[in-house]
């Protein structure tokens, strides 16, 4: 790698030899090895994307870093300290949005701030700012079930950003958006990232999205999940996929790497 300024920074997130298995089968006696010997090091302020076939353990990695799941073996360090549970310095944007149906849109965005003890007026202000960022100000008083899937994801994004965490763990956050909206959020997210210097770990199926957003793209192998290969994307930001031809070239390389894994996944899932 050729990024001396990044290399010299401290590790923000470190996974060392992480294993994770789950009980499997009806009797829960079998063992499914989801992650095997995963090593990841993410520098302070880096934007890293993870791609991999479905079921390879991407969400599991995020859960482990978030402190929601404990690795069977290995260590997880954030800021050099071992993770001992969830904490609001690492906010997760879940694959399923995970908004609370008993709260209105704006109350959902305020939730994390309320838990941080931010006063009512201040949290309303910050929530409104982030709702307008995701273009949902009109829906501030709606309930969650009145939103479309993509709108829910945008509310979840606003909720995560409003908390202003050091680390953002994003699990396919834009999967439910149409292509144009997704492009807009790609730009928006990069701008926020450049301004705030957050550390972002971004999981996606979409290789071109990963290449467009990431400083690095990690390719995960199919079960057991392992870091198979890593690509560095060294293009100026904010990037736009359409206007940066080099991205297509890197995408092709990542896809090549991924193809074998996806085939393996398909074969196994078909039985």
């Amino acid at each position: 790698m050729n990024r001396p300024d990044v290399e010299s920074r401290a590790d923000k997130i470190r996974l060392e030899g992480v294993h994770k298995g789950f009980p499997m089968g009806q009797d829960r006696k079998g063992r499914l090895l989801a992650l095997q010997n995963v090593d990841i090091a993410i520098k302070q302020g880096e934007f890293v994307c993870i791609v991999g076939p479905t079921g390879c353990g991407k969400t599991t990695i995020l859960n482990i870093i978030a402190g929601l799941a404990k690795p069977d073996r290995g260590r997880v360090l954030v800021d050099g300290r071992e993770v001992g549970g969830p904490a609001p310095d690492r906010v997760v944007m879940f694959q399923e949005a995970a908004l609370f149906p008993w709260l209105t849109v704006i109350e959902n965005v305020e939730f994390g701030l309320e838990m941080q003890g931010v006063g009512r007026a201040e949290r309303r202000k910050r929530a409104e700012k982030h709702l307008s960022l995701v273009r949902l100000s009109h829906f501030r008083d709606s309930f969650v079930h009145e939103l479309s899937g993509g709108m829910k994801q945008r509310v979840a994004l606003a909720r995560a950003l409003a908390m202003d965490p050091d680390i953002l763990l994003m699990d396919e956050p834009f999967a439910a958006l149409d292509a144009q909206t997704r492009d807009r959020f790609h730009l928006e997210l990069q701008q926020i990232w450049m301004k705030t210097k957050k550390t972002i770990l971004f999981v996606t199926h979409n290789v071109s999205e990963a290449v467009c957003l990431g400083d690095r793209v990690l390719v995960l192998s199919y079960r057991p999940g392992r870091i198979k290969k890593e690509f560095t994307v060294d293009r100026p930001r904010p990037r736009e996929y359409r206007t940066t031809p080099e991205l297509a070239c890197i995408t092709a390389m990542v896809l090549d790497e991924l193809r074998g894994e996806v085939d393996k996944a398909a074969k196994e899932e078909m039985g």
């Binding site: 859960n63 978030a66 402190g67 929601l68 549970g85 969830p86 904490a87 609001p88 690492r90 906010v91 997760v92 879940f94 399923e96 995970a98 609370f100 149906p101 008993w102 709260l103 939730f111 994390g112 309320e114 838990m115 941080q116 309930f143 969650v144 079930h145 009145e146 909720r159 908390m163």
Partner: protein
């Protein structure tokens, strides 16, 4: 719309039922003191309402209900949370509560009388015993079924301890909590009527008993109607509308339009 149509249908059914009842009474197969006619029952109902005895009795019963149900809900809530939180409590106290639920609540009455004497406290005890089990079970299972996703999301945003319960777990379990309270209320009402039947302190159950002692079948039937009405009204006015409001807010109602 739909609801009104169903209401109308039920009203029509009731009218037909009363007409059939009147018809059978007119046939005179059984004597009047065994098989009352609707007219007699309605006039007993009217007398009871207009001289205030029904109202007074209903108020006394409702007051007992509120106290008994309040105690049962507080106990059931606490116990339900404890069972959901701790496997040990679930395997011990939880199993006990589940087992005791098979005991009809009125079976507690002799014990309650020995403990408290022939007074309101004994009735209250029976009411609490009748309702607390179902409330406990509903609340513990409601809490156990809160989707882990909500809890995980809240924990990554810094919720823990009391905040996690008051801001996430209880609101998420609210539909189950209301359903449990509703069931507890109807169990409490049945227990209360059974308890009042055996006592001489003012209440709808006591009115029923007085009717029997006077051999006044019209009063017996009229009081039965009143008990039914109060039970249905309280349940529907309070719990059914609460349930509907919560469902609407969370989009749990079907809105197909068909």
């Amino acid at each position: 719309m739909m609801l009104e149509r169903r209401g109308l249908r039920f009203a029509a059914f009731c009218i037909v039922l009363v007409a059939a009842w009147q018809l059978v009474a007119l046939l005179g197969i059984w004597p009047q003191y065994i098989f009352p006619a609707p007219a007699g029952v309605l006039s007993a109902l009217w007398t009871g309402m207009s001289d205030g005895t029904f109202l007074l009795a209903a108020l006394a019963s409702l007051q007992r209900m509120l106290i008994g149900f309040g105690i049962a809900f507080a106990l059931g809530f606490t116990l339900g949370v404890a069972i959901a939180r701790s496997r040990i409590v679930g395997d011990t106290a939880g199993q006990l509560v589940l087992g005791l639920q098979t005991l009809p609540s009125i079976c507690w009455l002799p014990l309650a009388v020995l403990w408290f004497g022939l007074n309101d406290a004994a009735i209250l005890f029976v009411v609490v015993a009748g309702a607390v089990g179902s409330i406990t079970m509903a609340i513990s299972s409601g809490i156990a079924h809160v989707p882990p996703l909500f809890i995980n999301a809240a924990r990554t945003m810094g919720a823990s301890g009391w905040n996690l319960y008051s801001k996430v777990i209880f609101p998420a379990a609210l539909p189950a909590i209301i359903a449990g309270a509703r069931q507890g209320w109807s169990f409490a009402w049945r227990s209360l009527m059974a308890g009042e039947l055996l006592f001489f302190s003012v209440g709808l159950g006591q009115l029923l008993q007085i009717g029997r002692e006077l051999n006044d079948i019209n009063q017996v039937a009229a009081v039965m109607l009143a008990i039914l009405a109060v039970g249905l009204l309280t349940e529907n006015l309070v719990f059914a509308s609460l349930e509907r409001a919560v469902k609407r807010k969370r989009g749990l109602e079907q809105e197909s339009g068909y």
